[in-house]
Amino acid sequence: MSINIKNVDYSYNKNTQLETRVLENINLTIDKNEFVGITGKIGSGKSTLIKLFNGLFVPDNGYVHVDRVDASDKKTRKKVGLLFQNPHEQLFSKTVYEEIAFAPSNFGIKGDDLTERVHESLHLVGLDSKITDMSPFKLSGGEMRRVALAGVLAMKPEYLILDEPTSGMDIKGKKELYSNLKRIHSTGACVIIVSHQIDDLLPVVNKIVLMDDGKMTFAGTPSEYLENISSPVPEITQLMRGLRSKGFNVRNDVLTVDDAYGQIKNLLTKK
């Protein structure tokens, strides 16, 4: 089971004077058991790419298959859950419960099953079940985002795609989200995160995809990434690479403050 992207090109405003090529010859396979981070600058095509995964955009050339079915086929909509960048702008219901129950109830789930799904989803995003009767618009920005995520999770998607899910979130929210996503991944769902914050992605994902100006310039494991890519890398990695280039014996794949601290201490004891 996988998402297969083969020779995909995509342009905005196709066949008009404003035609702009945003994706060029993309080839990528994402297996169902993967936890993928897609990174790159703003405007590199990463958000466009994921909109092909659930058929919101249809490639000009090539194809996108989800479990061997074309992504634009309605059958994939249920399988692929997509959370947009400003999810709180999508909220529309009177209560948190109605908000989360909206999609599953449209697919015919009702009664206790529905209630259970709502509570399960709230739990997965780390929100208290007590808020189900509240208006989503009375919550803080970070909480609204989590409600929107719970709404997507309630569909039990097999592929969960999130576009910049941590923007506007504080460190606690971020940590919680990532640990929730790990939990969701461990239940067998494929998780795909689009983020320009490489620092957040490298420690959690098992595949990194780097986009640059509409082209895919790298796809591989985080350690392969650190071996081959000089930028973007986390600041701590940059710092340690700086030390390395000055002749100090430190590794070039340091990701955490703890690791960096240990390596620097090590240099001093060896001296």
Partner: protein
């Protein structure tokens, strides 16, 4: 000056916990003050008091001596204090960039010439003059934020509140915004910058750290960043600052003789090369 005295705010009068709990803050003219804190700490609620979008449940907020509680002051207060929010597109109303920026000044009953001058001037300041004729919705996230700032600048405010304006932006656009802020401050505009990322605010004159509706710290960035209990406030501390703090505590790097704690990669690297 902005003078906040014993500010209490409750969303509903019967709710047990106030969103803002007895805050006292003074902001002098020309200052660049950052307000940081985790989601839900009350920082956005606080700044919405600065141009009377919200009115205190208890206590007072005065802008240049004008009490926000007094209905007759609201128009002058809103002219003095401009606001830019996280999602600029939800603020856009014009079909072109210049139309959008002109909206505010048009409501001030200015001459056409004056409006045009203000629009050009504001767009120039944020580096968006070349995009005058563009549809604001067709711009990138960073460019949209620049246009939103221009819209506020065209009103010639004395204070600008920027509420999480960079949380959607990548590092490059964030740098552009930081440069704009520096430029505005040079021109004497008071900046109130709300964020949950302390990385963005190391250049401010003062950082106010909030938690659960109260003020935890209110001091220079240097002092605040070296607070050992800062991580408990739930704000994101840049890894470089965290590492520098730990190395400093061990005496590996030296920040005495008024030398600042290194904030950037480059500074820390220089320090390390010297001390190892």
């Amino acid at each position: 000056m902005i003078d906040i005295k014993n500010l209490v705010y409750q969303y509903e009068s019967n709710s047990k916990y106030p969103v803002l709990d007895r805050l006292n803050i003074q902001i002098k003219k020309g200052e660049f003050v950052s307000i940081v804190g985790e989601n839900g700490c009350g920082k956005s609620t606080l700044v919405q008091h600065l141009n009377a979008l919200l009115i205190p449940s208890k206590g007072t907020v005065q802008i240049e001596g004008l009490d926000t509680k007094k209905q007759s002051n609201i128009w002058s207060i809103r002219q003095k204090v401009g606001m830019v929010f996280q999602n600029p597109q939800s603020q856009f109303i014009g079909t072109t960039v210049q139309e959008d920026v002109a909206f505010g000044p048009e409501n001030l009953a200015l001459s056409n010439h004056e409006i045009q001058t203000r629009v050009n001037d504001a767009l120039e300041q944020v580096g968006m003059l070349d995009f005058k004729e563009y549809n604001p919705m067709s711009l990138s996230g960073g460019q949209k934020q620049c246009v939103a700032i221009a819209g506020v600048l065209a009103m010639k405010p004395e204070y600008i509140v920027l509420d999480e304006i960079t949380s959607m932006l990548d590092d490059k656009s964030q740098k552009t915004i930081s440069d704009i802020i520096k430029h505005l401050q040079k021109n004497g505009i008071t900046i109130i910058y709300v964020t949950h990322r302390i990385k963005d605010v190391v250049n401010s004159d003062r950082i106010i750290v909030m938690s659960k509706g109260r003020i935890l710290y209110n001091d220079k960035p240097q002092t605040v960043l070296e607070e050992p209990s800062l991580p408990e406030s739930g704000i994101e501390i840049p890894p470089i600052v965290e590492l520098a703090n730990r190395l400093k505590r061990d005496g590996i790097i030296d920040t005495y003789n008024n030398k600042n704690l290194p904030f950037s990669n480059k500074e820390l690297l220089e320090d390390l090369c010297q001390s190892i």
